[in-house]
């Protein structure tokens, strides 16, 4: 029996990615990274800024996300997110732009704890990409 399942990433504008030969997906869930394999129990969770790793026979892919929701059901993984970038397409300048934005946000004083935490996360993740 194959150990592969289907993953679908959607953003508001379009279906970003559909892949059905995935062996494992690692998502940055809100309470820590979470690896999902085939026959995982049905789960709904949401994401914090981080890297989604998709492992498959045809090669691994990494994506940077800022937020989102994951739903896993019947070996279908759906990821809904409003901001997603393929790391392979992301060059230095794009990364710097995002980092600058995130730092600005993190340095704001009038935001609540949660958005502050999320902004800090963004900065952290983007820095590790360098």
């Amino acid at each position: 029996m194959s150990e592969e399942f289907k993953v679908e990433i959607v953003n508001p504008e379009k279906s970003f990615l559909i892949k059905d030969d995935v062996s494992e997906v690692v998502v940055p869930a809100f309470e820590g990274e979470m690896g999902i394999l085939k026959d995982h129990i049905s789960i709904i969770s949401f994401l914090k800024p981080g890297i989604i790793k998709i492992l498959s026979k045809s090669g691994d892919q990494n994506y940077y996300v800022e937020d989102g929701i994951v739903e896993f059901k019947n070996n279908n993984l759906s990821i809904l997110t409003s901001t997603i970038f393929n790391l392979a397409d992301m060059d230095k300048s794009k990364q710097q732009d995002l980092l600058k934005q995130a730092e600005e946000e993190a340095n704001k004083t009038d935001i609540n704890d949660q958005s502050k935490y999320l902004a800090d996360q963004k900065v952290e993740v983007l820095k590790t990409l360098n």
């Binding site: 959607v10 953003n11 508001p12 504008e13 379009k14 279906s15 869930a29 809100f30 309470e31 979470m34 129990i41 049905s42 789960i43 709904i44 969770s45 949401f46 937020d67 929701i69 739903e71 059901k73 759906s78 809904l80 409003s82």
Partner: protein, 290 residues
């Protein structure tokens, strides 16, 4: 009867109008295809979002303490209406249809002795509503600079709505937009987004989910996103409807202009012939009298 010169000028002016409407029709057709595509591409996201929320709200254990965005504030005193129209005119009944729908809703709410507050998105709606409901409009947003509907803009509107909800400015929120059916038909819609109206929809929940963190926390994170998503969906539907409506309006205008040119041309030819005949009669009768 108008002189020959006048007729000629009129024909020329109708023809140039026809050229413009024809060009606008072509542009609208091209834009329509793009808008329709993005509306279709945007559908999976809002459908999935709806599904997840449906599953979540059914799974919630404590209905009493459900987030207010889902269950409402418990009263229905103040209604916020987000009226979404276009920034440009010349698109047939597109804007008037939304306004008509919105106005009848306003009248109903006011009759019940409740209050309304209006946010207009798009300048055309603002122009039409401010005459009657000027003092009710609390906010006017327009996205003239953005070429296409994008999620960033929708998110701005969504965040504003939520902010107002959290400080208790209103209890119920409804958005007005045109749903795109086809080029000829667009259906004005009134959709309630706060509190979320899920009744009548059966969830496809056969098995229970595991939630991490718990349902309440996910829901309270998800619901604001859903507001933006619904607004974004409305924006996409609206932009497809606008182009469709403009296309059929301009098609009509072009046809009407064509008919008018034909009629004027016949009139022109007739009066020219009349002038020639008159001259001939004059010459002949002049020759006869000699």
């Amino acid at each position: 009867m108008a002189s020959l010169d006048d007729l000629k000028k009129r024909i020329a002016s109708v023809k140039s109008t026809q050229k413009i409407t024809k060009a606008m029709k072509m542009v609208a057709a091209a834009k329509l295809r793009r808008a329709q595509e993005s509306a279709e591409k945007g559908r999976p996201y809002s459908e999935k979002m709806n599904n997840v929320i449906l599953n979540l709200s059914n799974g919630i254990s404590d209905k009493e303490n459900a987030p207010k965005l889902l269950s409402g504030t418990g009263q229905e005193k103040t209604h916020l209406c987000v009226v979404m129209t276009s920034d440009r005119g010349l698109c047939g009944g597109f804007n008037s249809n939304i306004i008509k729908k919105a106005k009848s809703y306003f009248a109903k709410i006011l009759d019940e002795g409740k209050e309304i507050k209006i946010i207009t998105v798009g300048s055309k709606g603002n122009d039409q509503l401010k005459r009657v409901y000027g003092n009710k409009i609390i906010e006017n947003i327009s996205f003239k600079e953005s070429k296409n509907a994008n999620y960033f803009d929708a998110d701005k509107v969504g965040k504003m709505v939520i902010e107002k909800f959290e400080v208790g400015e209103f209890d119920v929120c409804t958005i007005f937009y045109n749903q795109f059916k086809n080029v000829i038909t667009q259906i004005p819609q009134a959709q309630q987004i706060i509190p979320l109206n899920n009744e009548g929809e059966e969830s496809s929940l056969e098995e229970s989910y595991e939630f991490e963190p718990d349902e309440d926390e996910i829901l309270s994170n998800l619901l604001p996103k859903n507001i933006s998503t619904q607004i974004f969906k409305a924006m996409l539907e609206n932009s497809a409807s606008e182009q469709g409506s403009r296309m059929s309006a301009m098609d009509n205008a072009t046809r009407n202009a064509g008919e008018m040119v034909d009629k004027l041309t016949i009139e022109y030819n007739r009066s020219r012939q009349a002038a020639i005949t008159k001259e001939l009669i004059e010459i002949i009768s002049g020759a006869e009298s000699l």
